[in-house]
Symmetry: C2
Subunit: 195 residues, 2 copies
């Protein structure tokens, strides 16, 4: 269970974790289980946890004034997901997080997160790298959104995340790319007839 997280950390920071640290982890993290369509965090409420997905998949979304859903982020096994703003500030969440499948996570509340950062320097470093990477990737994604047509956006996405294409419904991928499901359907049709 915790093995996935451990290997994830080691891969990210490029060094192996001392044995002692693992037991500290086990104490801080606790498992949670969600069924498909369960809500991990509701927009407006305080997001008390960051979740590390060990099984299944989730996504976060923003609901706009018209009530339309806009997918923000997907998470599969080995991904963290949360409303970071709410988690850190303690204010109401902007996004809702929902399970796409039967999902198991390791949850960490703010206090435990602090403790993990304070007592396990490697974890502190790990999380810093994670956010830096997420920030850099996001900046690039926005730049692409503003400069490239939807077809190329989809191609890049499917090359980068073939696993997402397999497991995440098309209408959510469309939403994530900033287009309508109908448009993505037409794009996919175009792509298959091209080949």
């Amino acid at each position: 269970m915790i093995e996935l997280l451990k290997s994830n950390i080691e891969r990210t920071i490029g060094m192996s974790i001392p044995e002692g640290n693992c037991s500290v982890f086990s104490e801080l993290l606790f498992e949670k289980h969600f069924d498909k369509k369960d809500i991990l965090t509701e927009a407006g409420t305080i997001c008390k946890y960051i979740y590390f997905i060990t099984e299944g998949s989730c996504y976060s979304y923003l609901r706009d004034d018209k009530g339309d859903v806009h997918a923000i982020q997907f998470g599969l096994e080995g991904y963290w997901i949360s409303d970071l703003y709410s988690f850190i500030s303690g204010k109401g969440a902007v996004y809702t997080i929902e399970a796409l499948e039967t999902t198991k996570v390791l949850a960490l509340n703010k206090e435990q997160f602090q403790k993990a950062c304070d007592t396990i320097p490697i974890f502190d470093k790990y999380f810093r790298i994670l956010i830096q990477n997420a920030y850099v990737a996001l900046q690039y994604r926005l730049a692409k959104t503003n400069s490239v047509e939807a077809e190329k956006l989809y191609l890049e996405f499917s090359n980068l995340h073939p696993d997402f294409i397999q497991r995440i419904p098309q209408y959510l991928i469309a939403s994530y790319l900033g287009i309508k499901p109908q448009s993505l359907s037409r794009i996919r049709k175009e792509l298959t007839t091209k080949k």
Copy 2:
């Protein structure tokens, strides 16, 4: 000079800086001067510094396959600007950073940045918060880009950053918002006639 940074740190982390730390700063940071249109970092080369702007303004941009420029980020007095990916990884920068006016910055290279984080815990914390905030804001910006028409995007931007509207050329603001200068011109016309 360094006062601006000091007050910036104090405002961000919500506590005052011990006297001793300031002198450490002065040793690590060094001043640089740029004229309008000078390049702080060129895409493709390694971005060796993060810059804290004390006077003037800059922007970072991505040049796409067609040679078109896409504004990524603006920086005025009190803002940090860099190609974070390149700075951290030591690989070639994705973005170019250019001065929009005569600009003075405090520069910090990787080694000095490390030293600052290691010896000044407050600085470490400050930078973590900065990136977290930037990440959260960016995520929200992308969500808006994908859900809101250009007019509202511009209105939000001008409400949030009236100082940017004053000092940054309109064609760059258009680029930042992901639209063409002509479109922004028309949007602005619409808005004035509406009132």
